[in-house]
Protein backbone atom coordinates (compact mmCIF):
# COMPACT_ATOMS: atom_id res chain seq x y z
CA UNK A 1 0.00 0.00 0.00
CA UNK A 2 2.82 2.38 0.97
CA UNK A 3 4.63 1.68 -2.31
CA UNK A 4 1.67 2.96 -4.32
CA UNK A 5 0.79 5.89 -2.10
CA UNK A 6 4.17 7.62 -2.37
CA UNK A 7 4.34 7.73 -6.20
CA UNK A 8 0.73 8.91 -6.35
CA UNK A 9 1.42 11.70 -3.90
CA UNK A 10 4.59 12.67 -5.75
CA UNK A 11 2.71 12.90 -9.07
CA UNK A 12 -0.05 15.00 -7.49
CA UNK A 13 2.55 17.19 -5.78
CA UNK A 14 4.51 17.80 -9.00
CA UNK A 15 1.32 18.62 -10.89
CA UNK A 16 0.03 21.00 -8.21
CA UNK A 17 3.42 22.69 -7.79
CA UNK A 18 3.81 23.44 -11.49
CA UNK A 19 0.20 24.65 -11.94
CA UNK A 20 0.34 26.92 -8.87
CA UNK A 21 3.75 28.20 -9.94
CA UNK A 22 2.63 29.09 -13.47
CA UNK A 23 -0.87 30.33 -12.62
CA UNK A 24 -0.11 32.39 -9.54
CA UNK A 25 3.40 32.64 -8.14
CA UNK A 26 5.18 33.50 -11.38
CA UNK A 27 2.77 36.40 -11.86
CA UNK A 28 3.70 38.03 -8.55
CA UNK A 29 6.85 40.09 -8.56
CA UNK A 30 8.83 40.38 -5.32
CA UNK A 31 11.76 42.82 -5.43
CA UNK A 32 11.56 42.63 -9.22
CA UNK A 33 11.84 38.83 -9.43
CA UNK A 34 9.51 35.86 -9.12
CA UNK A 35 9.76 33.16 -6.52
CA UNK A 36 10.03 29.65 -7.97
CA UNK A 37 8.70 26.88 -5.78
CA UNK A 38 9.47 24.01 -8.17
CA UNK A 39 13.16 23.55 -7.23
CA UNK A 40 12.15 23.87 -3.57
CA UNK A 41 9.56 21.12 -3.93
CA UNK A 42 12.08 18.84 -5.66
CA UNK A 43 14.67 19.59 -2.96
CA UNK A 44 12.11 18.87 -0.22
CA UNK A 45 11.16 15.53 -1.79
CA UNK A 46 14.84 14.59 -2.00
CA UNK A 47 15.37 15.49 1.67
CA UNK A 48 12.30 13.55 2.77
CA UNK A 49 12.19 10.55 0.48
CA UNK A 50 15.80 9.97 -0.58
CA UNK A 51 17.95 10.29 -3.67
CA UNK A 52 16.07 7.97 -6.00
CA UNK A 53 12.66 9.53 -5.30
CA UNK A 54 14.30 12.99 -5.47
CA UNK A 55 15.87 12.30 -8.86
CA UNK A 56 12.64 10.86 -10.31
CA UNK A 57 10.63 13.77 -8.89
CA UNK A 58 13.19 16.20 -10.36
CA UNK A 59 12.95 14.59 -13.76
CA UNK A 60 9.14 14.56 -13.72
CA UNK A 61 8.73 18.10 -12.41
CA UNK A 62 11.34 19.47 -14.81
CA UNK A 63 9.77 17.74 -17.79
CA UNK A 64 6.37 19.05 -16.75
CA UNK A 65 7.72 22.60 -16.45
CA UNK A 66 9.28 22.34 -19.92
CA UNK A 67 6.03 20.98 -21.34
CA UNK A 68 3.82 23.66 -19.82
CA UNK A 69 6.12 26.52 -20.78
CA UNK A 70 6.74 25.10 -24.28
CA UNK A 71 10.47 25.26 -23.67
CA UNK A 72 13.24 23.01 -24.92
CA UNK A 73 12.43 19.62 -23.38
CA UNK A 74 15.02 18.19 -21.04
CA UNK A 75 16.69 21.41 -19.86
CA UNK A 76 14.83 21.90 -16.60
CA UNK A 77 14.56 18.16 -15.93
CA UNK A 78 18.33 17.81 -16.23
CA UNK A 79 18.85 20.52 -13.61
CA UNK A 80 16.12 19.26 -11.29
CA UNK A 81 17.43 15.66 -11.40
CA UNK A 82 20.67 16.96 -9.89
CA UNK A 83 18.79 18.96 -7.23
CA UNK A 84 16.59 16.03 -6.18
CA UNK A 85 19.42 13.54 -6.24
CA UNK A 86 21.87 15.60 -4.19
CA UNK A 87 19.21 16.58 -1.64
CA UNK A 88 18.44 12.87 -1.28
CA UNK A 89 22.12 11.95 -0.94
CA UNK A 90 22.49 14.55 1.80
CA UNK A 91 19.67 12.85 3.65
CA UNK A 92 21.13 9.38 3.15
CA UNK A 93 24.71 10.26 4.04
CA UNK A 94 24.27 12.86 6.79
CA UNK A 95 20.68 12.32 7.99
CA UNK A 96 20.30 16.03 8.77
CA UNK A 97 18.03 16.85 11.67
CA UNK A 98 18.67 20.57 12.06
CA UNK A 99 15.61 22.67 11.36
CA UNK A 100 17.47 25.06 9.08
CA UNK A 101 18.75 22.43 6.66
CA UNK A 102 15.85 23.04 4.20
CA UNK A 103 16.72 26.75 4.27
CA UNK A 104 20.32 26.15 3.21
CA UNK A 105 19.31 23.49 0.72
CA UNK A 106 16.62 25.79 -0.70
CA UNK A 107 19.20 28.52 -1.29
CA UNK A 108 21.65 26.06 -2.83
CA UNK A 109 19.08 24.43 -5.09
CA UNK A 110 17.73 27.78 -6.32
CA UNK A 111 21.23 29.05 -7.02
CA UNK A 112 22.03 25.84 -8.86
CA UNK A 113 18.81 26.09 -10.91
CA UNK A 114 19.43 29.77 -11.78
CA UNK A 115 23.09 29.41 -12.70
CA UNK A 116 22.48 26.07 -14.40
CA UNK A 117 19.69 27.51 -16.53
CA UNK A 118 21.96 30.40 -17.55
CA UNK A 119 24.78 28.02 -18.48
CA UNK A 120 22.47 25.74 -20.50
CA UNK A 121 20.96 28.73 -22.30
CA UNK A 122 24.44 29.94 -23.23
CA UNK A 123 25.34 26.45 -24.44
CA UNK A 124 22.16 26.33 -26.53
CA UNK A 125 23.25 29.50 -28.29
CA UNK A 126 21.33 32.28 -26.60
CA UNK A 127 23.31 35.40 -27.35
CA UNK A 128 23.26 36.93 -23.90
CA UNK A 129 25.79 39.11 -22.15
CA UNK A 130 26.54 38.07 -18.58
CA UNK A 131 25.20 41.31 -17.22
CA UNK A 132 25.29 42.56 -13.66
CA UNK A 133 21.49 42.49 -13.72
CA UNK A 134 21.46 38.78 -14.51
CA UNK A 135 23.72 38.04 -11.53
CA UNK A 136 21.64 40.41 -9.38
CA UNK A 137 18.41 38.67 -10.39
CA UNK A 138 19.80 35.24 -9.61
CA UNK A 139 20.95 36.54 -6.22
CA UNK A 140 17.56 38.10 -5.37
CA UNK A 141 15.70 34.98 -6.52
CA UNK A 142 17.91 32.91 -4.22
CA UNK A 143 17.08 35.25 -1.32
CA UNK A 144 13.33 35.16 -2.01
CA UNK A 145 13.33 31.38 -2.40
CA UNK A 146 15.35 31.01 0.80
CA UNK A 147 12.63 32.91 2.66
CA UNK A 148 9.92 30.54 1.44
CA UNK A 149 12.00 27.35 1.63
CA UNK A 150 10.90 26.43 5.15
CA UNK A 151 7.13 26.78 4.56
CA UNK A 152 7.42 24.85 1.28
CA UNK A 153 9.40 22.09 3.00
CA UNK A 154 6.86 21.93 5.85
CA UNK A 155 3.99 21.69 3.34
CA UNK A 156 5.70 18.96 1.32
CA UNK A 157 6.50 17.03 4.52
CA UNK A 158 2.87 17.32 5.61
CA UNK A 159 1.70 15.97 2.24
CA UNK A 160 4.23 13.14 2.03
CA UNK A 161 4.44 12.11 5.68
CA UNK A 162 1.63 9.51 5.63
CA UNK A 163 3.22 7.82 2.64
CA UNK A 164 6.83 7.95 3.80
CA UNK A 165 8.23 4.71 5.20
CA UNK A 166 10.71 6.40 7.46
CA UNK A 167 11.06 10.03 8.49
CA UNK A 168 14.54 10.88 9.82
CA UNK A 169 13.08 13.13 12.54
CA UNK A 170 10.66 10.49 13.80
CA UNK A 171 13.37 7.85 13.70
CA UNK A 172 15.69 10.02 15.74
CA UNK A 173 12.95 10.90 18.22
CA UNK A 174 12.04 7.24 18.54
CA UNK A 175 15.67 6.41 19.14
CA UNK A 176 15.85 8.83 22.03
CA UNK A 177 12.55 7.83 23.65
CA UNK A 178 12.83 4.06 23.30
CA UNK A 179 16.52 3.82 24.03
CA UNK A 180 17.59 2.33 20.71
CA UNK A 181 17.37 2.69 16.98
CA UNK A 182 15.79 -0.70 16.38
CA UNK A 183 14.74 -3.86 18.22
CA UNK A 184 17.96 -5.49 17.01
CA UNK A 185 19.94 -3.16 19.23
CA UNK A 186 18.06 -4.08 22.39
CA UNK A 187 19.90 -6.42 24.76
CA UNK A 188 19.00 -10.07 24.40
CA UNK A 189 17.16 -11.97 27.15
CA UNK A 190 20.27 -13.94 27.85
CA UNK A 191 21.99 -10.82 29.11
CA UNK A 192 19.45 -10.17 31.83
CA UNK A 193 16.25 -8.16 32.35
CA UNK A 194 15.61 -4.93 30.45
CA UNK A 195 15.85 -1.65 32.37
CA UNK A 196 12.44 -0.21 33.39
CA UNK A 197 12.61 2.70 30.95
CA UNK A 198 13.37 0.43 27.97
CA UNK A 199 10.85 -2.21 28.89
CA UNK A 200 8.00 0.29 29.08
Amino acid sequence: MTDVRLPLRLIALAFAAVVVQEAAISQVSIFGVNADITPLVVMSVGLLAGSMAGAVMGFGTGLFVDMVLVQTLGVTSLLYIAIGYWAGRLRELRDPAHGLVPLAMGAASTAFAGIGMAVVQFLLGVDAPVSFLLVQQIFITVLVNTLIALPVYALVRRILRPALPDDPRRRRRRAYTTGGLSPLQRPSRGLGPLPRSSAR
Binding site: V20, E22, S29, V68, V70, G74, T141
Partner: protein, 293 residues
Protein backbone atom coordinates in the same frame (compact mmCIF):
# COMPACT_ATOMS: atom_id res chain seq x y z
CA UNK B 1 22.35 -6.13 -0.80
CA UNK B 2 23.89 -2.68 -0.30
CA UNK B 3 25.85 -2.96 -3.56
CA UNK B 4 22.67 -3.89 -5.37
CA UNK B 5 20.92 -0.79 -4.02
CA UNK B 6 23.83 1.44 -5.01
CA UNK B 7 23.92 -0.06 -8.50
CA UNK B 8 20.17 0.39 -8.86
CA UNK B 9 20.33 3.99 -7.71
CA UNK B 10 23.14 4.81 -10.10
CA UNK B 11 21.39 3.06 -12.95
CA UNK B 12 18.19 5.06 -12.38
CA UNK B 13 20.19 8.30 -12.19
CA UNK B 14 22.09 7.49 -15.39
CA UNK B 15 18.84 6.56 -17.14
CA UNK B 16 17.12 9.81 -16.16
CA UNK B 17 20.09 11.93 -17.21
CA UNK B 18 20.34 10.03 -20.50
CA UNK B 19 16.61 10.50 -21.22
CA UNK B 20 16.91 14.22 -20.47
CA UNK B 21 19.89 14.60 -22.78
CA UNK B 22 18.18 12.63 -25.55
CA UNK B 23 15.05 14.77 -25.22
CA UNK B 24 17.12 17.95 -25.22
CA UNK B 25 19.10 16.96 -28.29
CA UNK B 26 16.08 15.65 -30.19
CA UNK B 27 13.91 18.66 -29.38
CA UNK B 28 16.61 21.19 -30.18
CA UNK B 29 17.28 19.71 -33.59
CA UNK B 30 13.63 19.23 -34.60
CA UNK B 31 11.38 21.51 -36.60
CA UNK B 32 8.22 22.95 -34.95
CA UNK B 33 6.04 20.36 -36.74
CA UNK B 34 7.96 17.36 -35.42
CA UNK B 35 6.50 14.64 -33.12
CA UNK B 36 8.03 15.97 -29.89
CA UNK B 37 6.66 19.44 -30.54
CA UNK B 38 3.26 17.94 -31.40
CA UNK B 39 3.19 15.95 -28.15
CA UNK B 40 4.16 19.08 -26.24
CA UNK B 41 1.40 21.10 -27.91
CA UNK B 42 -1.12 18.32 -27.17
CA UNK B 43 -0.20 18.31 -23.49
CA UNK B 44 -0.44 22.10 -23.29
CA UNK B 45 -3.84 21.87 -25.03
CA UNK B 46 -5.07 19.46 -22.35
CA UNK B 47 -3.59 21.48 -19.48
CA UNK B 48 -4.70 24.85 -20.78
CA UNK B 49 -8.24 24.75 -19.27
CA UNK B 50 -6.81 23.56 -15.94
CA UNK B 51 -4.31 26.41 -15.92
CA UNK B 52 -7.03 28.87 -16.88
CA UNK B 53 -9.19 27.66 -13.99
CA UNK B 54 -6.27 27.77 -11.58
CA UNK B 55 -5.35 31.25 -12.77
CA UNK B 56 -8.89 32.50 -12.07
CA UNK B 57 -9.11 30.70 -8.72
CA UNK B 58 -5.76 32.04 -7.54
CA UNK B 59 -6.34 35.60 -8.74
CA UNK B 60 -7.32 36.95 -5.28
CA UNK B 61 -4.05 35.64 -3.77
CA UNK B 62 -2.13 37.08 -6.70
CA UNK B 63 -3.83 40.44 -6.25
CA UNK B 64 -3.04 40.58 -2.54
CA UNK B 65 0.61 39.78 -3.15
CA UNK B 66 0.67 42.26 -6.03
CA UNK B 67 -0.85 44.94 -3.80
CA UNK B 68 1.97 44.61 -1.25
CA UNK B 69 4.57 44.64 -3.99
CA UNK B 70 3.02 47.66 -5.69
CA UNK B 71 2.74 49.58 -2.42
CA UNK B 72 6.47 49.22 -1.86
CA UNK B 73 7.20 50.83 -5.21
CA UNK B 74 4.38 53.35 -5.18
CA UNK B 75 6.28 56.33 -3.80
CA UNK B 76 9.23 56.24 -6.18
CA UNK B 77 6.87 55.51 -9.05
CA UNK B 78 4.68 58.51 -8.13
CA UNK B 79 7.65 60.91 -8.25
CA UNK B 80 8.75 59.52 -11.58
CA UNK B 81 5.24 59.73 -13.00
CA UNK B 82 4.87 63.36 -11.91
CA UNK B 83 7.96 64.25 -13.93
CA UNK B 84 6.62 62.32 -16.89
CA UNK B 85 3.24 64.05 -16.66
CA UNK B 86 4.95 67.44 -16.96
CA UNK B 87 6.79 66.30 -20.07
CA UNK B 88 3.70 64.73 -21.61
CA UNK B 89 1.57 67.84 -21.04
CA UNK B 90 3.92 69.82 -23.23
CA UNK B 91 3.98 67.04 -25.82
CA UNK B 92 0.18 66.76 -25.72
CA UNK B 93 -0.26 70.37 -26.71
CA UNK B 94 2.01 69.82 -29.70
CA UNK B 95 0.30 66.52 -30.57
CA UNK B 96 -3.18 68.03 -30.46
CA UNK B 97 -2.11 70.73 -32.84
CA UNK B 98 -0.51 68.12 -35.13
CA UNK B 99 -3.63 65.93 -34.97
CA UNK B 100 -5.88 68.75 -36.06
CA UNK B 101 -3.54 69.44 -38.91
CA UNK B 102 -3.41 65.73 -39.76
CA UNK B 103 -7.20 65.41 -39.90
CA UNK B 104 -7.44 68.40 -42.21
CA UNK B 105 -4.70 67.17 -44.52
CA UNK B 106 -6.09 63.61 -44.55
CA UNK B 107 -9.45 64.91 -45.67
CA UNK B 108 -7.81 67.02 -48.32
CA UNK B 109 -5.89 64.15 -49.95
CA UNK B 110 -8.55 61.46 -49.26
CA UNK B 111 -6.40 58.92 -47.34
CA UNK B 112 -7.90 55.78 -45.81
CA UNK B 113 -8.71 56.27 -42.12
CA UNK B 114 -8.63 52.60 -41.19
CA UNK B 115 -5.05 52.51 -39.92
CA UNK B 116 -6.04 52.09 -36.25
CA UNK B 117 -5.90 49.09 -33.93
CA UNK B 118 -9.57 48.31 -34.59
CA UNK B 119 -8.71 47.76 -38.25
CA UNK B 120 -6.56 44.76 -37.29
CA UNK B 121 -9.44 42.83 -35.63
CA UNK B 122 -7.99 42.71 -32.10
CA UNK B 123 -8.90 39.70 -29.95
CA UNK B 124 -8.73 40.24 -26.19
CA UNK B 125 -7.02 37.49 -24.19
CA UNK B 126 -6.09 36.83 -20.58
CA UNK B 127 -2.64 35.72 -19.46
CA UNK B 128 -2.95 32.30 -17.84
CA UNK B 129 0.69 31.47 -17.22
CA UNK B 130 4.13 32.85 -17.73
CA UNK B 131 7.72 31.76 -17.89
CA UNK B 132 9.19 32.08 -14.40
CA UNK B 133 12.83 31.91 -15.47
CA UNK B 134 15.15 34.90 -15.58
CA UNK B 135 15.07 34.69 -19.34
CA UNK B 136 11.45 35.63 -19.27
CA UNK B 137 10.60 34.75 -22.80
CA UNK B 138 7.01 33.57 -23.08
CA UNK B 139 3.50 33.91 -21.70
CA UNK B 140 0.46 31.75 -22.34
CA UNK B 141 -2.93 33.30 -23.15
CA UNK B 142 -6.42 31.80 -23.23
CA UNK B 143 -7.27 32.45 -26.90
CA UNK B 144 -6.24 30.25 -29.80
CA UNK B 145 -6.96 29.34 -33.40
CA UNK B 146 -10.66 28.84 -32.54
CA UNK B 147 -10.78 32.60 -31.93
CA UNK B 148 -8.99 33.45 -35.17
CA UNK B 149 -5.48 33.65 -33.74
CA UNK B 150 -2.60 32.66 -36.05
CA UNK B 151 1.10 32.11 -35.59
CA UNK B 152 3.07 35.39 -35.96
CA UNK B 153 0.12 37.63 -35.05
CA UNK B 154 1.37 40.70 -33.14
CA UNK B 155 0.34 40.98 -29.51
CA UNK B 156 -0.23 44.27 -27.71
CA UNK B 157 -0.73 45.01 -24.04
CA UNK B 158 -0.27 47.79 -21.52
CA UNK B 159 -0.23 50.34 -24.34
CA UNK B 160 2.57 48.84 -26.37
CA UNK B 161 3.90 45.90 -28.35
CA UNK B 162 4.31 42.82 -26.16
CA UNK B 163 5.39 40.15 -28.64
CA UNK B 164 4.05 37.78 -31.24
CA UNK B 165 2.22 34.45 -31.30
CA UNK B 166 4.72 31.60 -31.58
CA UNK B 167 2.34 28.68 -31.01
CA UNK B 168 -1.40 28.73 -31.63
CA UNK B 169 -3.41 25.84 -30.20
CA UNK B 170 -7.18 25.59 -30.47
CA UNK B 171 -7.87 27.19 -27.09
CA UNK B 172 -4.53 28.67 -26.08
CA UNK B 173 -1.57 30.51 -27.58
CA UNK B 174 2.02 30.98 -26.59
CA UNK B 175 3.29 34.54 -26.94
CA UNK B 176 7.00 35.08 -27.48
CA UNK B 177 7.77 38.34 -25.71
CA UNK B 178 9.82 41.17 -27.18
CA UNK B 179 12.47 40.34 -24.58
CA UNK B 180 13.05 36.89 -26.09
CA UNK B 181 16.37 36.44 -27.87
CA UNK B 182 14.62 35.19 -31.02
CA UNK B 183 12.48 38.31 -31.34
CA UNK B 184 13.31 41.14 -33.74
CA UNK B 185 11.17 43.91 -35.22
CA UNK B 186 11.88 46.84 -37.51
CA UNK B 187 11.38 49.95 -35.42
CA UNK B 188 11.46 53.67 -35.94
CA UNK B 189 12.48 56.47 -33.60
CA UNK B 190 9.87 59.21 -33.60
CA UNK B 191 12.23 62.07 -34.18
CA UNK B 192 12.22 64.53 -37.03
CA UNK B 193 14.20 62.12 -39.26
CA UNK B 194 12.36 58.90 -38.36
CA UNK B 195 15.57 56.85 -38.02
CA UNK B 196 14.87 53.16 -38.49
CA UNK B 197 16.65 50.15 -37.01
CA UNK B 198 16.10 46.61 -35.81
CA UNK B 199 14.88 46.20 -32.24
CA UNK B 200 16.16 43.13 -30.40
CA UNK B 201 16.15 41.97 -26.79
CA UNK B 202 18.96 42.49 -24.34
CA UNK B 203 18.66 38.91 -23.14
CA UNK B 204 19.04 38.41 -19.43
CA UNK B 205 17.73 41.90 -18.81
CA UNK B 206 13.95 41.88 -19.05
CA UNK B 207 13.71 45.67 -18.84
CA UNK B 208 15.95 46.46 -21.75
CA UNK B 209 15.80 46.36 -25.55
CA UNK B 210 18.40 47.39 -28.11
CA UNK B 211 17.65 49.32 -31.29
CA UNK B 212 20.44 48.31 -33.64
CA UNK B 213 21.73 49.18 -37.13
CA UNK B 214 20.93 52.85 -36.77
CA UNK B 215 22.69 55.56 -38.78
CA UNK B 216 25.85 56.39 -36.83
CA UNK B 217 25.12 60.11 -36.82
CA UNK B 218 21.44 59.81 -35.92
CA UNK B 219 20.44 62.66 -33.57
CA UNK B 220 18.55 60.40 -31.17
CA UNK B 221 17.71 61.76 -27.72
CA UNK B 222 16.77 60.03 -24.48
CA UNK B 223 12.99 59.91 -24.00
CA UNK B 224 12.06 59.71 -27.69
CA UNK B 225 9.36 57.20 -28.57
CA UNK B 226 10.13 54.05 -30.56
CA UNK B 227 7.34 52.52 -32.65
CA UNK B 228 7.02 49.70 -35.16
CA UNK B 229 8.16 50.76 -38.64
CA UNK B 230 5.83 48.39 -40.52
CA UNK B 231 7.83 48.37 -43.73
CA UNK B 232 6.60 47.09 -47.08
CA UNK B 233 9.12 46.10 -49.72
CA UNK B 234 7.55 44.52 -52.79
CA UNK B 235 5.90 41.26 -51.76
CA UNK B 236 7.61 41.41 -48.37
CA UNK B 237 5.77 43.04 -45.56
CA UNK B 238 6.49 43.42 -41.88
CA UNK B 239 4.41 41.25 -39.55
CA UNK B 240 3.75 44.31 -37.44
CA UNK B 241 1.58 47.22 -38.54
CA UNK B 242 3.23 50.62 -38.36
CA UNK B 243 2.93 52.95 -35.41
CA UNK B 244 2.56 50.49 -32.52
CA UNK B 245 4.44 51.93 -29.53
CA UNK B 246 7.31 49.74 -28.35
CA UNK B 247 9.27 51.84 -25.90
CA UNK B 248 11.27 54.93 -25.06
CA UNK B 249 14.95 55.57 -25.70
CA UNK B 250 16.62 55.19 -22.31
CA UNK B 251 20.29 55.58 -23.24
CA UNK B 252 21.54 57.21 -26.41
CA UNK B 253 25.21 57.90 -25.80
CA UNK B 254 27.03 59.20 -28.84
CA UNK B 255 29.90 56.80 -28.21
CA UNK B 256 27.57 53.81 -28.36
CA UNK B 257 25.92 55.15 -31.52
CA UNK B 258 29.28 55.72 -33.21
CA UNK B 259 30.80 52.39 -32.25
CA UNK B 260 27.84 50.00 -32.19
CA UNK B 261 25.13 51.95 -34.05
CA UNK B 262 22.63 51.15 -31.30
CA UNK B 263 20.66 52.77 -28.49
CA UNK B 264 18.95 51.27 -25.46
CA UNK B 265 15.16 51.24 -25.25
CA UNK B 266 12.85 50.64 -22.29
CA UNK B 267 9.65 48.79 -23.28
CA UNK B 268 6.36 50.66 -22.82
CA UNK B 269 4.59 47.54 -21.60
CA UNK B 270 5.32 46.20 -18.14
CA UNK B 271 5.93 42.62 -19.21
CA UNK B 272 5.98 41.32 -15.66
CA UNK B 273 2.50 42.50 -14.77
CA UNK B 274 0.46 41.70 -17.84
CA UNK B 275 -3.01 40.42 -17.07
CA UNK B 276 -4.63 40.86 -20.46
CA UNK B 277 -3.41 41.44 -24.00
CA UNK B 278 -4.80 42.13 -27.46
CA UNK B 279 -3.90 39.93 -30.40
CA UNK B 280 -4.04 41.66 -33.78
CA UNK B 281 -5.45 38.94 -36.03
CA UNK B 282 -5.62 40.81 -39.36
CA UNK B 283 -2.45 42.81 -39.46
CA UNK B 284 -2.41 43.42 -43.19
CA UNK B 285 -5.95 44.74 -43.38
CA UNK B 286 -4.92 48.37 -43.54
CA UNK B 287 -2.33 47.78 -46.25
CA UNK B 288 -4.69 45.80 -48.45
CA UNK B 289 -7.34 48.50 -48.25
CA UNK B 290 -4.75 51.14 -49.04
CA UNK B 291 -3.77 49.28 -52.20
CA UNK B 292 -7.33 49.36 -53.55
CA UNK B 293 -7.95 52.04 -56.17
Amino acid sequence: MYDKQVRRRRAVLALLVAVSLILLTAYFGESPGSPLHSVQRGIVEVLSPIQEGASKALKPFRDIAGWFSDTLHAKSERDQLRKEVQTYRAELAQAQSAETQNVQLTKEIGLDQSNSIQAYSPVGAHVISRDPTLWYATIEVDKGSDDGVHVDDPVMGDGGLVGKISTAGATYSIVTLITDHTFAVTAQVQDQYGDTGVLVAAVGNPNQLLLQYLPRRAPIQVGQQVVTAGFTSGPLESLYPPGIPIGQVSNASQANLQNNAEVQVNPVADLRHLDSVQILTHTHAGTQRAQLP
